[in-house]
């Protein structure tokens, strides 16, 4: 076996002396045993394609002003982030966290050869694969499937709010639990007489069907597992909800209810490592101005209230929120006073453990490809930060490739 120069050095100097030569992932590997299932990631999916340029606004760039004759946001209406860059005033609660050093804004996030389909791009973000298949498990579900996270009756993933359960939280065990109203968690019994016996029978029936003998095959096995898991999870969720409190001022929109529930469950000690919440409506192809402002107002208010509740519950140093969208929107507005699908956009990471401020380079408006912004930071570098530096699991193994983490997490010593 040929001895490389580096190999020779390792042998000559002894292992201790070589540590500084080792790439950083060696430390991540070493930290594996210390994975942090006590820590929580809240995934906030801004579904439909949020207009990044009108969220984190380059208000002084003449190319921005020219591209947005009716939709541009003037500097006067923005909260300052840096020279020439402002945050929408609807996001004031987030701006306060930015000033406190608890909000990271990663600029120009995307991936190579952007796909402008909502569904394909959503699948790419959720699976962390550029070539997702129908069966690719979500990136966070791959974490949750690990024994440190899925062990002994934990609920590693949970979706708060209605609507379809996304790929991000569908793993090898089927979909994660979903709850949008605590009062709907008890199995239906019907009239009181004999109710307990019927609930017990439902449980027994779900358990009695054998996986092998069933004529329904894989579909029936899936349904049986789902029925059993639902019964078990509902009890755990209800218990946590009874212990937790959420008293913040949430907006009436569905996002408000979903984040209130997440705060209540986190406060109640539900040992989930990831919560998934979705805000729909960002697909603003026409008459965008008012609709987008309303969405951002709900987002700011809901996230502000959520964070207050998390702080009040004493959980602030255990929670990080990631808010992203499947793509940004076209630089130039269309003739409908809206914007079509685009590419790179900023995303938000919020938490006490977050290294606040602006990260990554702003995408250039003078170097578009196909009329779209070109990303400056691969989204998987943000996932790598959450994996390596927050949940302390090996991102290379989980993402299948090495991505240098964006330094959005303050690394624990």
């Amino acid at each position: 076996m040929a001895t490389t120069r580096r190999g020779f050095l390792v042998q000559a100097l002894g292992a201790a002396a070589t540590l500084p030569l080792l790439p950083r992932f060696a430390f991540a590997r070493a930290a594996l045993a210390a994975a942090r299932p006590d820590r929580i990631v809240v995934l906030l999916d801004l579904a439909g394609g949020n207009d990044g340029l009108n969220t984190v606004v380059p208000h002084s760039d003449p190319l921005y002003l020219a591209a947005r004759p009716t939709l541009r946001i003037e500097a006067a209406g923005l909260l300052p982030l840096a020279d020439g860059l402002g945050l929408r005033s609807e996001l004031a609660p987030l701006h306060r966290r930015f000033e406190a050093g608890e909000l990271a804004i990663v600029q120009g996030v995307g991936y190579p050869n952007p796909d402008l389909s909502h569904f394909k791009s959503t699948d790419i973000w959720h699976s962390a694969s550029l070539t997702p298949t129908e069966y690719s498990p979500g990136w966070i579900a791959r974490v949750a499937d690990r024994p440190e996270f899925a062990g002994s009756g934990r609920l590693p993933l949970i979706m708060c709010g209605g609507g379809p359960v996304p790929r991000a939280i569908v793993g090898s065990r089927g979909p994660a639990p979903q709850v949008d109203r605590i009062d709907q968690l008890r199995p239906a019994a019907g009239p009181e007489a004999g109710a307990a016996a019927r609930v017990a029978e439902q449980k027994a029936i779900a358990e009695a069907i054998s996986t092998s003998g069933g004529s329904g095959g894989a579909a029936l096995a899936f349904l049986r597992d789902a029925a059993r898991a639902t019964q078990r999870q509902a009890v755990q969720i209800e218990q946590a909800a009874s212990k937790g409190r959420a008293s913040g001022d949430y907006p009436a929109a569905p996002l408000g209810g979903a984040l209130r529930l997440a705060a209540q469950l986190i406060g109640g000690g539900l040992d989930g490592s990831a919560y998934y919440v979705r805000q729909d409506g960002y697909d603003t192809h026409a008459f965008q101005r008012d609709q987008h402002a309303l969405l951002l107002r709900d987002l700011g208010q809901a996230l502000g209230a959520f964070w207050d509740d998390v702080v009040a519950a004493g959980a602030a140093d255990r929670v990080v929120v990631l808010a992203w969208s499947e793509f940004g929107r076209r630089v130039a507005e269309n003739g409908s006073k809206g914007t079509d699908h685009g590419a790179a956009a900023p995303l938000f990471v919020l938490g006490k453990g977050v290294r606040g401020g602006l990260h990554g380079a702003a995408p250039r408006l003078d170097a578009l490809i196909d009329k779209n912004l070109v990303h400056t930071t691969d989204f998987r570098r943000v996932y790598a930060a959450l994996l390596d530096d927050w949940l302390e699991v090996d991102s290379t193994e989980l993402l299948g490739e090495r991505f240098e983490p964006v330094p959005v997490i303050r690394r624990s010593s």
Binding site: D180, A193, L223, A226, A234, H285, A286, N334, S336, D370
Partner: protein, 449 residues
């Protein structure tokens, strides 16, 4: 030849099990009497009967309910007030109809051209779109797509109404290719931009489609390799002629009518039939429902039924009635809010129907269905169970499983239910039948359609 016919005798029987399966897939399931009639009539006649649109005496009633929906929607003062009457009118029709396939096709196309009242905000337009999907859902696909492209609700939903030549709006053009005709990978971003130009000026005037010449780009465009296109109607024609279109539609038909996970060979067989039939949906389904592929045993229980077909099927089997608009709300909790799909891709179906939230909601419906008293009018279980009402547990479970689930329950479930029915917990008389019905309907296998 694609879709080889199922020859009774050579390929298998056409007995109660096959008839029940056909009537579940082509409709919402059948009563034992309807099943027997199908067996007596034979496969060919039963398939043919699915394609009638004749509602008989119900036609007048349905026409009146359409008018009433329009009035209720026009009279609504707040957003959200239009949804319950819309959902209620359609659900009531699905349960009462004598032409279930027409409603099932409308439901299928509603999920395909998924349009939501949340953005359209006009109940009347949503109802008109439903009537269009019902009337043309079994016809030529090209005709259907062209009609949907001009449909007022669609023109609101994907912003055609504001598509201007100065800076075209890509929303409809993209989804036309990605979700309505071809599927991802069979068109380019350039095709979308050029197609969007073709649809400029497709606006609404007094609530109806018109081509606004001032907003329309009259230039020549190149779309999907074809030069010289001018108008959106030519884009539709070119899109449906692409070989990918038949395969795309075939996959969706198979998921809706046969199996949650069709294999490539099955998709190509149905795509071949679609091409032979010039994308005539009804003609293709006629062949599909009488094919060996359709009756292949693994397909028999290979679909997880969506909430609407599941609940409508149960009510039809017992001649049930409900406060229909409240049923619409219960179905929303189960994950299928009619006229309000989650996004333009519609409901993913299959395993995506199932989450802890939607399973608990199905359980609540099972209880309401069995006991009534809320939004479901109490079912006359003594009539449904007949002599079995006073029989032993085995007889009662067999009868109810036959009526509600075509007898398709696992042996282990049957054994538990029989023991329960024979125990003190089971109660007696109609009460016992209700309890068994609830447990039957909330068993995991009851969701297999």
């Amino acid at each position: 030849m694609n879709l080889a016919p199922y020859v009774v005798g050579r390929d298998g029987a056409f007995g109660p099990a096959q008839a029940a399966y056909l009537l579940r897939r082509a409709g919402f399931g059948a009563t034992p009497a309807e099943r027997e009639q199908a067996v007596r009539g034979g496969l060919e006649a039963t398939v043919a009967a699915q394609f009638t649109l004749d509602e008989g005496r119900l036609a007048t009633q349905f026409a009146a309910s359409g008018v009433q929906v329009a009035e209720q929607c026009s009279g609504a003062e707040k957003l959200g007030e239009e949804l319950p009457p819309l959902q209620g009118a359609w659900l009531g029709r699905m349960v009462a109809t004598r032409a279930p396939l027409a409603e099932k096709l409308a439901l299928f196309w509603h999920g395909h051209f998924a349009t939501s009242i949340d953005k359209v905000q006009l109940g009347v337009a949503m109802w008109q779109q439903y009537e269009l999907l019902r009337a043309q859902g079994g016809g030529r696909f090209a005709t259907l797509v062209d009609a949907v492209a001009r449909d007022p609700a669609m023109l609101h939903w994907l912003d055609g109404n504001s598509n201007e030549k100065t800076a075209p709006n890509e929303n409809f053009a993209r989804e036309l290719f990605e979700l309505f005709t071809l599927g991802i990978g069979h068109y380019s971003e350039h095709d979308i931009r050029e197609a969007a130009r073709c649809f400029t000026g497709w606006h609404l005037k007094a609530g109806r489609y018109w081509r606004n010449e001032r907003a329309h780009d009259p230039g020549r465009k190149r779309v999907l390799g074809r030069d010289g296109l001018e108008d959106g109607t030519e884009v539709v024609a070119v899109a449906v002629e692409q070989p990918a279109c038949a395969s795309f539609v075939a996959g969706k038909l198979l998921r809706a009518f046969v199996t949650d996970s069709p294999d490539a060979a099955a998709i190509e067989e149905v795509a071949g039939a679609l091409r032979e039939e010039q994308l005539d949906i009804g003609a293709t389904l006629r062949r599909l429902f009488a094919s060996r592929l359709f009756f292949a045993p693994p397909h028999r229980r290979a679909r997880i039924g969506g909430p609407v077909e599941w609940a409508v099927g149960l009510l039809r089997r017992v001649g049930g009635r409900a406060k229909w608009s409240a049923l619409g709300g219960a179905l929303a909790e189960m994950g299928q809010s009619l006229f309000q799909p989650p996004n333009v891709k519609g409901w993913d179906g299959g395993r995506a129907w199932i989450s802890s939230r939607t399973l608990l909601a199905r359980g609540r419906f099972a209880a309401e269905f069995a006991y009534g008293g809320g939004f479901v009018v109490a079912v006359d279980w003594e009539r449904i169970a007949g002599d079995a009402i006073a029989g032993d547990g085995g007889a009662l479970v067999a009868t109810l499983a036959d009526v509600l689930l075509d007898g398709q329950i696992e042996a282990s479930t049957r054994a538990r239910l029989v023991a329960f029915a024979d125990s003190a917990d089971g109660g007696s008389g109609a009460e016992r039948a209700m309890r068994v019905a609830q447990l039957l309907v909330s068993a995991p296998e009851a969701l297999l359609q």
